[in-house]
Every structure is written in structure tokens, then in C-alpha cells.
């Protein structure tokens, strides 16, 4: 037992646990949370100590400065542009959903942009990405055009899944974006299999697997962790801990809430990452990707983030307080990053305005494309059920 613990500790040290931004609330403060909202719902966030990412230590500031210094201007601006693009895209999606243009479920990513954009900026074009149903940003970040994503939301033939998948099932073989999966945790074994295949074929491709913290309670997560480390598979598991599984807070659903610690059970390297800091996400992902690419080793990243919108467009949101949301919005990843960009002298107010205009134009163009794209032909109902067609049997 003692040996296991020290082994686990050693592995986490090996993983360079991103201590510079890491400062978890003591467990007692979670348990003793008393701040309740008018609806009687526990405002779990208020129970936390000062947000780790607001840690004013010099170490944090030094780390942020270093990250800026390590990247060229074009890369930094591109990351900003991407974040802004998916923010504006989601705002437009919400609008189109409310206007009845988009059907079904629509899970927005607003607040979490630093995770998908930061992580996907750390991989190559030929690497793989799989994620859950909250996927518009990942799809765009991986290289699917906003037009094809919006057209998919509209259920049009020009969509990236030709209108057959919708919000939850975006795919594009050309850019190795492998979905878009609607069952919580379902993509985790799939991503593990993609990583298995790349190792089998002896390529050096890496697979990023995104999922929410609620998926961590599924057997699929644990079964995958076990096999990934057992067989040394080049998969980076990125837990986007937005602190709610639909309307149920982490505190009400998970016995051990330190998700990065769960990796110890499988001797997988893990890190806790500030999910509101896009460059911190990028840097942690780069470390994990290198481990995967060079040594065929998996990593679990717990990326702490927060979703500003409801679980889906139909979420009344009565499980958390407005104050809690606003507190997190103070650390809006876009605001933080744009402030740093300005502070570091990377970008001027005028340039920022220009990027915003460009991004808005791009989203408008996506909407125009989606509006103009035809509906799938009626006969498409019957195509793509089988690759090898079933013989006619009249």
C-alpha cells in the first residue's frame, strides 16, 4: 500500500504537475460548504478558497510571462482568433437555435474555449481528436470549416456529417476529427482504440480524447485508463472539468473530486491544469503529446473550466446561482487572454477590433452557407446504413 502510494506520487512528480498554477481547495472546505442560493441549491463554488488561477504568486506570473515569451506573435494571435471564433460561433448558434433554425440538443461551449483551442493548438494536423456532444469548438479547432459545422447544426446536406449527425455527431475524415459522441464517456474507449491503431501501424500520431468530468464516473473511463497504460497507448485524455454533469455538481456526483488523482489508480501520468488559461492548457497538452508521441504513453489532464451557458439550450439553470456564474465570468478565458495579449504588447486595441470584425464576418458567412445549403435528398434516409450494401430482397 505504502509502496503504491509512493509510486503514484513519483509518477505525478514525473508528470510535472503544473504546480505553478495548482492550488486546490482543501477537502474540508468543500464538505462544509454552507453558502446556499435562494433556491436552496448549494453554491459549491463559494465554498472554494481563492480560485487557484487567481493565485497572485510570482511563480504564476512568471509562468505566464514565460509562455508568452516562448510563442511567436502569429501563433498567439491565431490562438486568440480561434478562441474568439468559437465564442462568436456559439453565440450565433444560440441565436439560431432560439430562432428554430437548429433542432434537437445544442450544447454550447461558451466559457470553455481555452480548453479545446489550447489543446488542439498543441497537436499536428494528422493527429486525431474525439470528443463528446459539446463539440462545435473542437470540430472547428481541428479544421472543419465553420460553414460545415453550422450547416450540420442546420441539418443540411453541406454539413460535415451531411446533416445526418447534427450537433452531437460531427465528423470529418479529412482532418481526423472522429466525432462527436452522444453517450457520456462513449468516446473514451473509441479514442483508446484509435491510439491502439496508430501504435499498431507504428505511426507517431497522437489521439486527444476530450470528455466532461461526469464521464469520469462511467466504467468506460476506467476501463480505458487501464488498457491505455497496460498497453502503453499514445492517447491524451483531457477531462474538461466544468464542474457540472448537466445539473448535478461535481460535489454531488463524485466521491473523490480530485480527478487528476484518479490517474494514480492506473499509474498514468496526470496534471491539473487551469482551463481558463489557454496557454497553460496548450503547454500541458504539449507535454502530454510528447510523452505519447515519443514513448507511447497516455496522460490524463484534468482541466478545470466552467461553462457559462446551460448544459444545453433547454437548461433552466436553477441548480446554480447567477453570482456563481458571474464569479467565473471574471476569469472568462477570452478576457484573460486578450488582457494578457494587450499587456504583453502583442496586440493593440485596434487590431483586436479588426480580428473581431473578421471573426464576426466568418460566422455570418457560416450562417449564410448553412441557410443556403440544401436539405439532404430524401433518398439519403436510406444511405450509409451499411458500407457493403444489403442485397435487395423482394
Amino acid at each position: 500500500m505504502a509502496a503504491n502510494q509512493s509510486q503514484a506520487r513519483r509518477l505525478r512528480t514525473m508528470a510535472k504537475s503544473n504546480q505553478d498554477v495548482r492550488k486546490r481547495a482543501p477537502e474540508s472546505s468543500r464538505v462544509g460548504a454552507e453558502d446556499t442560493s435562494a433556491t436552496g441549491v448549494l453554491d459549491h463554488d463559494a465554498a472554494e478558497e481563492a480560485d487557484p488561477r487567481l493565485d497572485p504568486t510570482q511563480a504564476v506570473k512568471a509562468a505566464q510571462k514565460r509562455r508568452f515569451a516562448e510563442l511567436d506573435r502569429a501563433t498567439l494571435i491565431d490562438i486568440y482568433r480561434q478562441m474568439l471564433l468559437v465564442r462568436r460561433f456559439e453565440e450565433k448558434s444560440a441565436e439560431a437555435y432560439s430562432a428554430g433554425k437548429i433542432g434537437g440538443f445544442c450544447h454550447l461551449y461558451i466559457g470553455q474555449e481555452a480548453v479545446a483551442i489550447g489543446a488542439i493548438s498543441a497537436i499536428r494536423k494528422d493527429d486525431y481528436v474525439l470528443t463528446s456532444y459539446r463539440e462545435h469548438a473542437h470540430a472547428i479547432a481541428k479544421g472543419i470549416s465553420p460553414q460545415a459545422v453550422m450547416a450540420e447544426l442546420y441539418g443540411k446536406a453541406g454539413g460535415c456529417s451531411h446533416g445526418k449527425g447534427g450537433s452531437m455527431h460531427m465528423f470529418d475524415k479529412e482532418v481526423n476529427f472522429l466525432g462527436g459522441h452522444g453517450i457520456v464517456g462513449g468516446q473514451i474507449p473509441l479514442a483508446t482504440g484509435v491510439a491502439f491503431a496508430t501504435k499498431y501501424k507504428e505511426t507517431d500520431q497522437v489521439t486527444l480524447c476530450f470528455f466532461g468530468e461526469a464521464a469520469v464516473n462511467q466504467g468506460a473511463f476506467h476501463e480505458s485508463m487501464n488498457m491505455a497504460q497496460l498497453w502503453k497507448l499514445p492517447c491524451v485524455y483531457i477531462c474538461e472539468n466544468n464542474q457540472y454533469g448537466m445539473g448535478t455538481s461535481l460535489e454531488r456526483a463524485m466521491s473523490l473530486q480530485d480527478i487528476s488523482q484518479k490517474a494514480c489508480a492506473y499509474e498514468i501520468a496526470s496534471e491539473f491544469v487551469d482551463g481558463m488559461d489557454v496557454l497553460a492548457v496548450r503547454e500541458a497538452t504539449l507535454r502530454a503529446v510528447e510523452r505519447a508521441r515519443k514513448n507511447y504513453l497516455p496522460t490524463l489532464l484534468e482541466v478545470r473550466t466552467y461553462r457559462f451557458m446551460g448544459h444545453s439550450m433547454s437548461d433552466p439553470g436553477n441548480y446554480r446561482t447567477r453570482a456563481e456564474i458571474e464569479r467565473h465570468q471574471e476569469r472568462d478565458p477570452l478576457k484573460l487572454f486578450s488582457a494578457s495579449l494587450k499587456e504583453e504588447g502583442i496586440i493593440s486595441e485596434a487590431e483586436m477590433k479588426k480580428i473581431d470584425d473578421e471573426v464576426r464576418a466568418k460566422v455570418e458567412e457560416a450562417v449564410r452557407f448553412a441557410e443556403g445549403s440544401p436539405l439532404p435528398e430524401p433518398e439519403e434516409l436510406f444511405t450509409n446504413v451499411y458500407a457493403d450494401p444489403i442485397p435487395e430482397n423482394e
Binding site: 470529418d172 475524415k173 472522429l178 473509441l190 484509435v194 487501464n226 488498457m227 458500407a387 457493403d388
Partner: protein, 327 residues
């Protein structure tokens, strides 16, 4: 041609297809070092190596999903379930991932995977280990379901299943692993999916049977022949796609049909076949379609009770006599 067991025929199919295509790999519980819980995979580890013949932890959902993911990235997995009873844990990945991936990706990701292993009753292994689950899987568009009844069919159909570009549920029968028959040793010997086989020709009544019920139906046909009733025995071999054409043509000739199955009757494959026959050949029927199914209870352990739960020759004989209005 050589006389081999069903077990050996399956082994040959896997070996030949793995030799033919490096992208085919085999994974499952005890398939490698242990040589297979039922020895279907005997010798494969030694011959093909640990990279391609892989023992998994007991983690059916996980390795089924891993297989589907590997298929998305270009491999052609054969996933063995030690028995299909354990596939129940993996159904999320089989149904939500494998069956629907091609469709929901708008045709981009087909899943060339075979899930195989024994299904149905075994020898006194009780309720949780004696289930015929074909109707579950056959329900879902996107899956193909195969159930061989002879060593030759087993080999030819498994080879086709491995070469198939869609997910195939390949259900063997533990009680039949030792059954012997002539099997081709031509590495290009395959049997297409979706084609029924007339196991015995006849003119007075049709018996549709699959898997374990095929030899039982053939014995019933022999017994009935002695009474002057000539039975045609049709084995659909694949449940989906179902070769209803061959069945309907036979019914048009005999005008009477009995469908025998090991599985429960409710929402079962025989119910589906009966419905198809009614829709396509109602005017040809001289008697209502008759089903002979496994008893509609969980499988008991006690030998006498287990025996009573699985259809027997006498029941099929009685059913044919009933549709033929023989007193």
C-alpha cells in the same frame, strides 16, 4: 476438403484471414496465452504473435469500444466475447458506436469489425450463461448478424464476415463446437452473407432453423420422411441481412412452415420471419405459421429442466404434423 470440427473450422478462418491481411487482429479474454476458453483460437498466438493476438482484461465495454475505435482508424478487429452473454456489457459500444457510426458520420466511418463467440445454451451453465441474443442485435440497422450451423458454413461465413466492411455479430454455439463436417481448405473459400442454405430439400412443409436447431430440424425431417412427409429445411445462416426470398420461395412450394429456434419466442427472430411470410406469401399458406421456440423463462440449471427448455426433435415433428393437419 477435410473433415474438421466447427472449432477447427473457425480457427482456420481466423488464421487464414489474419495471414491474408495484416490489419486484422484478434482480441478478447483468454484468446492468446490460454488458447481460447473454447480453444477456437488455439495456436494463433504462437503463429501470429502478441501484437495481433491479444489477451484483454475482463472489460467488455472497454475492449469492444477499443475495437470500434481501432476500426475507425483503419484496422479490422476480431473481438471475441468468451460468450455472448458478456456482450451485454458491451452493447453501448456495439449499438451506439459500431452500428451507427457510418450513418451518423454521413458515410465517412464504416466499422469493419467482427464480434464473435458462442451464444445460446451450453451445458447446465444456468440463466446468465445461456442466452440466445440474436434478436437483440438483429434489431439494429447497421449491424449484420451471422449464425452458422455447420463447420463449412462457420468457416466460409466467418471469412466473409472478417472481409466485410460493416460490423458483424457472429454467434457460434458452444454445443456445436465439436460437430464435424467437410470443410474446404481453399484460402479463397467464402460464403456470402445474406444467402440462406437449403439443408434438405422437400415438398410438403418448410422448416426454417438456425444454429443449434438445424441438426435438430434435420432429424425431425428424417423422422417425418418415414411418415411420408417430405420437409424442406432452410438455414438462413445470416439473420441480418435475412434471405427471406429463399424462405418465401420454399413456402410457396410447400404451403406450410415451421420455424424452429433456441431463443425465447417473444420479439424473436421467428416472429420476424413469420411476419415476413405473412406479408409476402399469405395466399400460399395452407396453415398458420408455427413457431417452435425455447421456453419463455430464464434458463434453469437442473438438467431435466434445462432439457425441457430447449426445443427437441419431437416438438418440431409435432409442429409439422400440426401445420400439415396430420392427426
Amino acid at each position: 476438403m477435410a473433415i474438421v470440427t466447427m472449432r477447427e473450422a473457425l480457427n482456420q478462418a481466423i488464421r487464414e484471414e489474419m495471414q491474408r491481411d495484416d490489419n486484422v487482429f484478434l482480441m478478447g479474454e483468454e484468446v492468446a496465452a490460454y488458447q481460447g476458453a473454447y480453444k477456437v483460437t488455439k495456436g494463433l498466438l504462437e503463429e501470429l504473435g502478441p501484437k495481433r493476438v491479444i489477451d484483454t482484461p475482463i472489460t467488455e465495454l472497454g475492449f469492444a469500444g477499443l475495437g470500434v475505435g481501432a476500426a475507425m482508424a483503419g484496422l479490422r478487429p476480431i473481438v471475441e466475447f468468451m460468450t455472448f452473454n458478456f456482450s451485454i456489457l458491451a452493447t453501448d459500444q456495439i449499438i451506439n458506436s459500431a452500428a451507427k457510426m457510418l450513418y451518423m458520420s454521413g458515410g465517412q466511418f464504416n466499422i469493419p469489425i467482427v464480434f464473435r463467440g458462442p451464444g445460446g445454451s451450453a451445458f447446465q451453465v444456468s440463466s446468465q450463461h445461456s442466452q440466445a441474443l440474436e434478436s437483440w442485435f438483429a434489431y439494429f440497422p447497421g449491424l449484420k448478424v451471422v449464425m452458422p450451423s455447420t463447420p463449412a458454413d462457420a468457416k466460409g461465413l466467418l471469412k466473409s464476415s472478417i472481409r466485410d466492411n460493416d460490423p458483424v455479430i457472429f454467434i457460434e454455439q458452444e454445443r456445436m463446437y465439436g460437430n464435424k463436417g467437410e470443410v474446404s481448405d481453399d484460402p479463397e473459400f467464402t460464403i456470402p452473407l445474406g444467402v440462406a442454405d437449403i439443408k434438405r430439400e422437400g415438398k410438403d412443409a418448410t422448416i426454417v432453423a438456425r444454429s443449434l436447431m438445424v441438426p435438430v430440424a434435420l432429424k425431425a425431417a428424417e423422422a417425418l420422411e418415414k411418415e411420408g412427409v417430405s420437409c424442406e429445411v432452410i438455414d438462413p445462416r445470416t439473420i441480418r441481412p435475412l434471405d427471406i426470398h429463399t424462405i418465401v420461395e420454399s413456402v410457396k412450394k410447400t404451403n406450410r412452415v415451421v420455424i424452429a429456434e433456441e431463443s425465447h419466442p417473444f420479439c424473436g427472430v421467428a416472429a420476424e420471419i413469420a411476419s415476413e411470410i405473412m406479408e409476402r406469401a399469405f395466399d400460399y399458406l395452407d396453415a398458420p405459421v408455427k413457431r417452435v421456440s425455447g421456453v419463455d423463462v430464464p434458463m434453469p440449471y437442473a438438467k431435466n429442466l434445462e432439457d425441457a427448455a430447449i426445443p427437441k426433435v419431437e416438438q418440431i415433428v409435432a409442429a409439422v404434423r400440426q401445420v400439415a393437419y396430420i392427426e
